[in-house]
Amino acid sequence: MNETLAEAGEETAATIEASSCFARFVNVQKSYDGVELVVKGFNLDIHRGEFVTLLGPSGSGKTTCLMMMAGFETPTHGEILLKNEPISGLPPHKRGIGMVFQNYALFPHMTVAENLAFPLEVRHLSREEIKRKVARALAMVRLEEFGDRRPAQLSGGQQQRVALARALVFEPDLVLMDEPLGALDKNLREEMQYEIKRIHASLGVTMIYVTHDQTEALTMSDRIAVFNDGVVQQLASPETLYEEPENAFVAYFIGENNRLVGEVVENSGERCRVRLDSGETVLARAVASGGAGSRTTLSLRPERVDILVGGEDTDHDNRFHGEVMEVIYLGDHLRTRLRVCGNDEFIIKTPNAKGHPALTPGQTIEVGWSWGDCRALDA
């Protein structure tokens, strides 16, 4: 929406390495009651222009981290840096961080245009300049005709876009969003996800986004920090997070996942052999499992499990019989629940297309997967 910002956006790609850290949490801890730590040793480096998502279950401390960045809560321990400066001494209104609140927090007594003009008036811009910027911000979120309406006269999605425009209109270089799409229906959500991505790409602002919706996190983010229990479990790109989860929590939280528990029999560093509690032996990729004798959880994505129809094959290092428990019709694919190795929550997915066998409950089939797709994680 602004030339300088657009330039900054293009420039960032080249200068990421040079000015590597834009915003930074250094060993931040937070306790509300002085007893229980809600955030424990939180570390996060955010590059300029990046879209970072904090993803985690309810109560894991995501909002708390965002509020500390915005200045509405103070860290009990640790330091938050913005452009290499500690910001603990700066009150919220001097931080210049844009924020989109979960409930939008539009001022109900002002029109949409007045809402957008508010941060500009605070900054003592001239009247023409305010008018110009407000018009441009309204155009950016495609709400040109709605400037004179009050927030109560807008739909949820429109209010959401006004909130977004208001957080961006004063050209902050950091924008925080706390579950901004939580209250919207599925279609509007997807539309807004696209809109936010488009704006992020065109302005080059840095965004920290909070959600507990993993699909949203996977589609929007450059990097995702998976939160649990006040600690970052893994910080990585969406692909890495999905393909190579580092621990059982991440594997369980991101995407669908079959779990088999057992004991490591032999660990060669890359591969390991695991004896399941039900007696079978499985060959797996050693990721976070210990040496022989330690407990481990095997994680296997449903789409990496194949149904075998007789004959020899060398692709599948692990082959087991499974009893079909339930078949769930999902339109484009079928989700089948099997009992494999004593686990009757074992899920496989088959496309609803020609050439795939029709399964019926009670039937016994053979399934297989290669050792590399099966990750041995912590217990």
Partner: protein, 283 residues
Amino acid sequence: MAIPSYATRGERLWHYVFLGLCALVFLFLVGPLLIIIPLSFNAQPYFTFSQEMLTFDPAGYSLRWYEDFFTSRAWLGAIKNSFIIGIASTILATVLGTIAALGLSSRHMPARGVIMALLISPMIVPLIISAAAMFFFFSKVNLAQTYLGVILAHTALGIPFVVITVTATLSSFDTTLIRAAHSLGANPTRTFFKVVLPLVTPGVVSGALFAFITSFDEVVVVLFIAGPGQRTMPIQMWSGIREQISPTILAVATLLVLLSMLLLTTLELLRRRGERLRGLTPG
């Protein structure tokens, strides 16, 4: 109120009896007020309808009691005093009460319950007790028989109304709006005047109206504290009825009814405006 089609005969009967009872209650409450208005135009110095008035003869009606009111030094002085005291104490009560309510709504406020109870107490303690206490105290500090004394006393009586109405408005106030204003760069002062105050204004205004009315028709405290120089309307009416029975008092009463209606209408309009701003009804 429509009767649903499934109502039994008994329910229908009760419905009409109920409407009749409501009408009676209404008549009982409003009747005396409505009688006063035509009586105040009586051409005779009596408190009853004359034969001419009942036959709608123009000769039976006159504005002489209104004229009497607007030319009497005693009545005009009383109304002036009432307005001076009423307006000054309303302003004080509104400012102090609003600030108190804002402070009490903060989650960092210690001893909230105790302070609230103290502020509300003038509304609960029998008026005669407050009045007597104020009389003794004000006499000691030379505030008895002064305007300031009466104003301060009425301020104390008006504050509970402001505290209660503003607190009620604040309870539905979304505090993330304050955070939003801060995140947009507004300092606390600006946030207060641009975001908090406009949104709690309906509560502030209705509190102020209640405070004004409280002061305007207050007798007991004024009797104790005011000197002859601070005679207010209610006192003047009281002594008027006892000493010189004149229908002027009916003219005054009619004017006061008009004033109250005006204030209540303002209140209702403000309430609707507030609702519209909060998006409760389409504007």
